[in-house]
Symmetry: C2
Subunit: 237 residues, 2 copies
Amino acid sequence: METQTTMARQPEHAASTDAIRVAVSTVIFSLQRRSGRERPTVVIPLVRRTRDPHDSRWALPGGWLGTEENLEVAASRTLGETTGLAPSFLEQLYAFGAVDRSPSRVVSIVYWALVREDVSAQPAPQNVAWFDATALPQLAFDHNQIVDYALWRLRNKVGYSRIAHGLLPELFTLAELREVYEAILSKRLDPANFRRQVDSSDTLIPTDDFRTGSHRPARLYRYNHDVELAERGPLPQ
Amino acid sequence: METQTTMARQPEHAASTDAIRVAVSTVIFSLQRRSGRERPTVVIPLVRRTRDPHDSRWALPGGWLGTEENLEVAASRTLGETTGLAPSFLEQLYAFGAVDRSPSRVVSIVYWALVREDVSAQPAPQNVAWFDATALPQLAFDHNQIVDYALWRLRNKVGYSRIAHGLLPELFTLAELREVYEAILSKRLDPANFRRQVDSSDTLIPTDDFRTGSHRPARLYRYNHDVELAERGPLPQ
């Protein structure tokens, strides 16, 4: 109980909270190149449930919050168990607590994370599969709604932050960076305009390395690590 | 339990969550004109605790989440109990759940709200007082950190959203709007530049009414209600 007034006015709440449980789930975005797609696909890993409620439905990776476990630690643990890797970006998304979202009362603190493209190509643990985030089946609980909100946050954030970095390897070409934006925004971007915007944004550092292959050599860039990937403000790091 | 894999791997969590309780707290911003201040002060109401932990410390208004109560409803209830009014703006801020933030394990879902200037001038309920949000005493729990984060969110949001609307009456002059920005950003803004920015932003609708008084008559404006006060994306309204 954090304040005296409410305890005085809502005594039943102090007793009733035992019935509320706290879960932590994570929306984990990555990119996959799928044959027949002109641009990479934004994918998320889902876990198939093997018990009720929502037996055999797919659900976001997650679990109960441990009594001695901080929220972000729980989210990272979930992510490690699902993808086997550490995220390049992890941020709290929202707390979902609608009374009717689960048969029992569960407040889910949802995080969203980015893992680099190659990750989702690794073999996934049993019961885990990667899905196109924009074409999901009916998921368990309110998880479709949660993914939609996470996608909305991702699309907003890619505009004003360096979030794309979290989906790219250390070194990348401007074409590869543009592909990440195109995948997230689900639209083609003009290469020349994109290059101008990136050059003016001043967040990329050109290297002396080039990617060679079927096309003409393309210069490799890296992000300026002096700038944080995401602005957390005064939140504890 | 929302996924099968984690249930399988973290069985102890399912049993241990009974020890975790969920509280909802709200950072309620308003403006007060204080003598000797050149601009309005951003103020928040705090509740004095009358029991341990942190007996006699000031704390954010809040309370335990009711088993049958949605998160936003709990935040609105808290706000009504503290200010006696409905907020002009209410949004989830963040879930604070550090293991050591309270003697017992408490996850606080924190909301932030705006109430119009005149509200904080009303007599407050017993145990409630309004404080300058930028000059707080040592609060209970991690509430100083929570207020700092809410202030950071408010300052960011005033830049790209119409959040100032939530602190203004239905009709206001450009000078009054500028004062809200100056109060939130803690700096003086050039009136001419401010007017140019507002005119180009296209979110204000000039009325045929004028405010008269000691100065020359100033035109009254209102916000364009066709635009939402805050962008919630696909979150349920």
